[in-house]
Amino acid sequence: MSTSSSQAASGRRLPRFAEAAVERARLTVVPARSLGRTQAARTPFAVLVLVILAGGVVGLLMFNTQMQQTSFTATALQDRATELTARKQALDLELDGLRDPQQLAQSARDLGMVAPQTPAFVRLSDGRVLGTPTPAGGGDAVQVTPGPSKKPAEIERRTVIVEATPRAAADGAP
């Protein structure tokens, strides 16, 4: 019975509940509040982005500046290291010069020292003297500076005697 009546109804006009559905199908914007969301404030976000951007730029700038500064320091330190290395080497050279056997020998000679020509030793364990202890004398001294080199023939004074006859002299006179 109810089936027949509904069929009859559909044949004539829209049922009342359908009208309501159609009425409901007219779409409207869902109010944000009904979905539980709030409208995001634009200003703080923009500020945040700007801050990050500015921070990045400033940070980069500072980083670059810092690196430049470090580079200056590195250059200065490098120069200093080079200078100190050079000074160390100069001092080493000076030290080597002082330790040069030639230098030592000359200093020893100036103190009047002479190398012994007869080695002799004292054995500490029993106090025995090994070898023949002989005092070194002036005759034992070894000449530590090489002797003067010979004068080259080129710088020998050569006296050239030219026999000048009176006639030649007369010719040469102005």
Partner: protein
């Protein structure tokens, strides 16, 4: 109202259009310029940028040091700088700059001034290899006075802190920084290292942190450690050169080695430059100065006798006590062999022949050898072969094939004429007698190193081989002790009080002069030996070539030997062994037992032997004119 609006709109349109055209033209201009810069002129701009901001720096590798056996530097590289000028900038202030440079760098003022005013160049060397502290301070001083145009560049400086010590062995670096001689040349591959290179961008003198940056690190050269002892080398050089100058000799060589290991403690050369030498001759002398101990050969003379006699003993042909009858002269083929001292017929033992250095006695004893036997024995002592020490320019000497020997040449070679050796060969041969009969290859480099020519040398590669038996070496050493024994031997001046010293004198004539004969050549006097004789530690060999004043093995080179040996014994604290030398008879007489040595009978007419007498009368083969004629000329 409406016409006004239209006209205003028309003006706006016009303005926009004009602006658009203006902007378009400007942008086209920019675009055109962009194309020009990026497309057409790109390469030249890149080059300009590179030249202004990009720095390419050679990073010179530090050359390895050459050290002595105790690690003392004999050659080292230090940071040096070259001082360079830009003459276009310096020319206006040349006088002021030159004055400072000449003062501070010890240069010639006029030369510097010429350099600073050179035309058509922007680069000129003022000074090279200047110690960096000095160069920097000079440049700083110039900058203070606002004198521009002088700059520095890295230029490694080779320094020889011990001066001329071992200069003959080490060699040197030439003007261009390339090795010119000696070990610097022989071990260049090892010492040189590999240069690096660095490229980076600079701005205002500072490196740009994120700029282009490439770096190839330099590989520093390795150090070369020698067996040379700096102090011994210095002493040997001075002692040798004093003698060479005193006797007005042409040159001299002294070798000191560790008897057991063959390590060279000193290898000294001395070349006396003669007056009147041309620059070319001086240069030649300088070149020869480099290790002439291995490059120059000469006839060894009587030192050779100990090799002959040890070989004879080794073969059991003679013993130190073997009796020999030594005539006053010995005819061999067409020549007559004589001794350095006149004598009648002497009854000498083999030991006496060695002690008195008798040519005749040696020739008679060596007659027991066939030429091949003697040749083989001498080869075992290393004669005629390179020692393999690793110094450049080593000669092998000359020991002709036994098949070419006559009876005369066998007799002559037995006492050291008619063959040639270098000083190092002879030192090594004498050393074998001290080293229990074993010939040890001499070495000058510690460890194992490879020369630039690929030869491996050093103490680690030194080989030993037997030259004579231990017994023969010991007996020969005992005979050699007699040489330095006062009243018995030819060189009492070579002995050291308290020590047992074994040695042998040598005086050989050298072929030379225009005729390439002995008469025109000079003498080569030498002395070789070791101590303590019963437990040898050091072998010393000295040779003086062509002395003008006096000149005998005992009188001239004996004292060199003694001084160097005494220095070694003292420095290395080698105490005397405290044993007594065995008493070996040096003469014999019929109907009487072998007696103690009696000098009066050995050297008729002379009661005492002292070194003064010996310095005039040469010992050995050839001091006396008779020997000159007998040993012959070819």
């Amino acid at each position: 109202m409406s016409p006004t609006r239209r006209s205003s709109r028309g003006t706006t349109h016009l303005r926009l259009r004009v602006a658009l055209i203006g902007v378009a033209m400007l942008l086209s201009l920019f675009a055109g310029r962009l194309v020009q810069i990026q497309g057409i002129d790109a390469a030249s701009y890149a080059a300009r940028a590179e030249s202004s901001g990009l720095v390419t720096l050679d990073l010179p590798a530090k050359r390895g040091r050459i050290l002595d056996r105790n690690g003392e530097p004999l050659a080292e590289s230090v940071a040096g700088l070259m001082v360079v000028a830009d003459p276009q900038t310096t020319a206006p202030n040349a006088d002021a700059i030159a004055r400072i440079l000449a003062d501070r760098l010890d240069l010639d003022y006029f030369e510097v001034r010429d350099t600073l005013t050179e035309k058509d160049t922007r680069f000129a060397y003022v000074a090279r290899r200047v110690p960096s502290t000095l160069a920097s301070s000079v440049v700083a001083e110039l900058r203070e006075q606002e004198l521009t145009g002088i700059d520095t560049r890295p230029d490694p400086l080779r320094s020889y802190p011990s001066g001329d010590v071992a200069g003959n062995v080490i060699g040197f670096l030439g003007e261009n920084g390339k090795p010119a001689a000696g070990l610097e040349l022989a071990f260049d591959d090892l010492l040189a290292g590999k240069d690096g290179r660095e490229t980076y961008e600079v701005g205002g003198g500072n490196r740009i942190p994120l700029g282009d940056n490439t770096r190839v690190a330099p590989v520093d050269g390795k150090d070369l450690r020698l067996t040379i002892d700096r102090d011994v080398q210095w002493y040997a050089q001075r002692v040798l050169c004093n003698t060479v100058q005193t006797v007005q000799a042409e040159s001299g060589v002294a070798v000191a080695m560790d008897t057991r290991t063959g390590e060279l403690l000193a290898l000294a050369d001395c070349t006396g430059t003669e007056p009147g030498m041309t620059p070319a001759e001086v240069a030649e002398a300088q070149r020869k100065l480099v290790s002439s101990a291995v490059s120059d050969v000469y006839e060894p003379g009587s030192v050779q006798k100990v090799l002959t006699f040890s070989s004879l003993i080794d073969d059991g042909k003679v013993a130190p006590e073997t009796k020999l009858t030594v005539p006053s002269e010995l005819p061999v083929l067409d020549r007559v062999i004589g001794d350095w001292f006149d004598h009648g017929t002497l009854q000498m033992t083999v030991a006496g022949v060695v002690a008195q250095s008798s040519n005749i006695g040696t020739s008679i004893a060596a007659g027991q050898f066939t030429p091949q036997e003697l040749h083989d024995h001498l080869t075992r002592f290393g004669l005629g072969q390179k020692t393999g020490v690793g110094l450049p320019g080593e000669s092998r000497g000359l020991l002709t094939d036994a098949s070419e020997w006559s009876v005369l040449s066998r007799a002559q070679i037995a006492f050291g004429q008619g063959l040639s050796v270098n000083a190092l060969q002879m030192a090594a041969a004498v050393n074998a007698l001290g080293n229990d009969g074993e010939l040890v290859e001499p070495s000058i480099v510690e460890g194992r190193e490879r020369t630039s020519s690929g030869q491996e040398v050093g103490t680690a590669t030194a080989t030993k081989r037997r030259a004579v038996s231990s017994e023969a070496a010991r007996k020969t050493a005992e005979m050699m002790e007699l040489v330095t024994t006062p009243d018995v031997g030819t060189a009492p001046g070579a002995g050291i009080q308290g020590y047992r010293v074994a040695g042998k004198t040598g005086t050989a004539q050298q072929a030379g002069g225009e005729c390439r004969c002995y008469a025109m050549g000079g003498k080569a006097v030498s002395f070789g030996g070791f101590a303590p004789a019963d437990d040898p530690r050091f072998t010393v060999y000295a040779m003086v070539n062509k002395p003008s004043i006096g000149g005998s093995g005992g009188g001239t080179t004996g004292p060199i030997f003694r001084k160097i040996l005494a220095y070694l014994l003292q420095k290395y604290a080698v105490a005397p062994t405290g044993t007594l030398p065995p008493s070996i008879p040096t003469e014999w007489s019929t109907g009487q037992d072998l007696g103690v040595p009696s000098p009066s009978s050995l050297r008729p007419g002379q009661g005492e032997v002292d070194s003064e007498d010996l310095s005039d009368g040469a010992d050995g083969t050839s001091g006396a004119p008779t020997a000159g004629s007998t040993t012959g000329s070819e």
